[in-house]
């Protein structure tokens, strides 16, 4: 081999090592994704730059003004499960977040859901204009307008609508079970029961994030708001209600169609029969569902006696109740009078 050839091989080897070193120093996107545990194809190439930092659980800072912790972590698993998963971060965060470190003014960005949702024709059927109107009538906005925005309750990074429908107005409020159990009637596929419970838990957590945390409530309103357990003490089987009924099923205005006109506590539903016996079809479905759940839980034979399928208020009817008391009272009076007569005349006969 000539010295020229040796020099060429040496140069190629050097270049090869140089290239490997360069690649290693650059950290290709694939290795970053591996390192931070993002595996989904959907996130690759869309959020990887942002997630490089924001997927870290500890990312955040203490606000020098309020002293509160500003959490900048975005859980990628929840984000990928959200309704916004198809969006790039910078599609919403447009205030200069392309640059790093982010400019100071970018941190002052004020996002508002309706800004996007109103201008996008594809999102008009989601009724954001109506939702905004209802939200502005709600007790939250009416009492504390400066503290409340969409983000007070909904985190856009993992927000997802519970009911998969193109037209939410077709789902009447307070008919929670019907929303899913008869969805075939309105052309939407049937949801398994388990998902209903998950939906209830998800929706209720939105309310409990504030209402179950006394300090959080105090931050918003200086006066004491009663603890959620105290304010619901009147409600029978309170934990069962919270597990199986959404807060909004009782705390919504009667004119509400899009689940955002939240009422004050004293305006909320307090009569059991408003839900339990007002709609006989809902009642039948709820009753059957409870029996089936019990059958799964206890088995066929045991469920006959151990099932707790009874719907409070199901048989209550004021007229029938009063009539039955009147009949029973009348009968007891007649029998008492008859008995007294027998005793009295028997006594007279003996004399």
């Amino acid at each position: 081999m000539s010295s020229y050839a040796y020099r060429s091989v040496f140069a190629i080897v050097l270049l090869a090592f140089g290239f490997i070193g360069y690649v290693h120093g650059q950290e290709d996107p694939g290795s970053v994704i591996e390192r931070i545990g993002i595996k989904s194809q959907e996130i690759q190439g869309k959020h990887v730059d942002c997630m490089r930092c924001h997927s870290m659980e500890t990312l955040g800072y203490r606000d020098p003004v309020t002293g509160g912790f500003i959490d900048l972590h975005v859980p990628e698993k929840d984000f990928l499960d959200s309704n916004h998963k198809a969006l790039k971060c910078v599609e919403c965060h447009t205030a200069g977040f392309d640059d790093y470190p982010h400019p100071e003014k970018a941190k002052q960005e004020a996002l508002y859901c309706v800004d996007c949702h109103e201008s996008n024709p594809a999102l008009i059927p989601k009724h954001f204009a109506e939702i905004e109107r209802e939200f502005k009538q709600s007790v939250h906005y009416q009492r504390l307008p400066e503290h409340f925005s969409c983000f007070s309750c909904h985190n856009a990074h993992f927000f997802k609508v519970s009911i998969k429908s193109t037209d939410m107005s077709r789902f009447p409020k307070r008919e929670l079970c019907i929303n899913c159990h008869t969805t075939n009637d309105i052309g939407v596929s049937m949801e398994p029961v388990r998902q209903v419970l998950e939906m209830v838990e998800y929706d209720n957590q939105i309310c409990l994030n504030c209402h179950a945390v006394t300090t959080r409530l105090k931050e918003l309103k200086e006066t004491d708001i009663p603890n959620i357990e105290t304010s619901h003490k009147w409600l029978p089987n309170v934990e069962m209600h919270w597990a199986k009924v959404r807060c909004v099923d009782c705390h919504l205005s009667k004119d509400d169609n899009f689940l955002h006109d939240i009422l004050t506590a004293d305006q909320a539903v307090k009569h059991c029969e408003e839900c339990h016996s007002a709609n006989s079809i809902l009642l039948t479905k709820l009753y059957k569902y409870t029996i089936q759940e019990n059958r799964q839980k206890y088995g066929f034979i045991n469920s006959v006696t151990l099932n707790d399928a009874y719907i409070i208020g199901m048989t209550r009817n004021i007229i029938l109740d009063r009539l039955s008391f009147a009949i029973l009272g009348g009968m007891l009076l007649v029998l008492a009078a008859h008995g007294f007569g027998r005793w009295y005349f028997a006594r007279r006969r003996r004399k």
Binding site: K288, T305, M314, T315, L320, I327, L335, F345, R349
Partner: protein
């Protein structure tokens, strides 16, 4: 005093078990119907359990009653003799409404082939073959709701069945009150109760009639 063995052991056992179940079901049913957080008799969950267990027991007792009446002599007492029924019925009603106060003798005498008077027979047949069968049926349907359709004539099916179950049980409660009272109209206040314990009925001879405790 004539001694008659009118209530065999199985009838007495059935009768008192059935009576106990009726009382338990009425009380637990009222606890469910008038469910309240304020000082309930027993807790709501316990009431459901009691009601279900007693309901299933009563349904089984009802089967025992039907089979017992089919295969034993007891069934003959539930075969209504229509001949002269209205006349006997009215005579019995007049006795309860008037004659009893004057110490008149019972218009009918129990025999081993017909232990009930006309009023008892019509009431017991209506209650046991009519009301209780519907009550047991509605209770069974409430335990097995998947055997009925969701909707009937545009409304849910559970509500009318549950409401019917409550109304029937109200009439059963009325019957129970009336039954307990009329059971005191025997030769003495407690004689009929004793008969349902021992099975033996003592029929006074004609010269002994006109008891003092009626």
């Amino acid at each position: 005093m004539k001694k008659m063995y009118l209530y065999p052991l199985w009838v007495r056992l059935w009768h008192w078990s059935n009576a106990l179940m009726c009382v338990i079901l009425i009380l637990s049913g009222m606890n469910l119907h008038f469910a309240s957080k304020e000082a309930p008799l027993v807790s709501f969950d316990t009431s459901i359990l009691i009601h279900n267990v007693a309901g299933v027991t009563m349904a089984l007792l009802y089967v025992v009653f039907i089979i017992g009446n089919l295969v034993t002599h007891n069934g003959v007492h539930y075969k209504v003799r229509f001949q002269g029924l209205i006349k006997r019925f009215i005579a019995q009603a007049i006795y309860y409404g008037y004659g009893i106060f004057k110490g008149e003798p019972h218009p009918s005498t129990p025999t081993e082939d017909c232990k009930f008077n006309a009023l008892q027979q019509v009431t017991y047949v209506s209650i046991m073959y009519g009301l209780v069968s519907l009550l047991v049926l509605s209770g069974v349907l409430l335990l097995f709701p998947d055997s009925i359709p969701d909707k009937l004539m545009g409304m849910g099916t559970i509500l009318p069945i549950a409401l019917g179950h409550s109304i029937l049980s109200f009439f059963l409660a009325l019957f129970l009150v009336g039954h307990l009272y009329l059971a005191t109209t025997g030769e003495t206040v407690l004689s009929n109760y004793k008969t349902m314990v021992t099975g033996i009925h003592y029929e006074p001879d004609s010269h002994e009639l006109g008891g003092t405790s009626k």
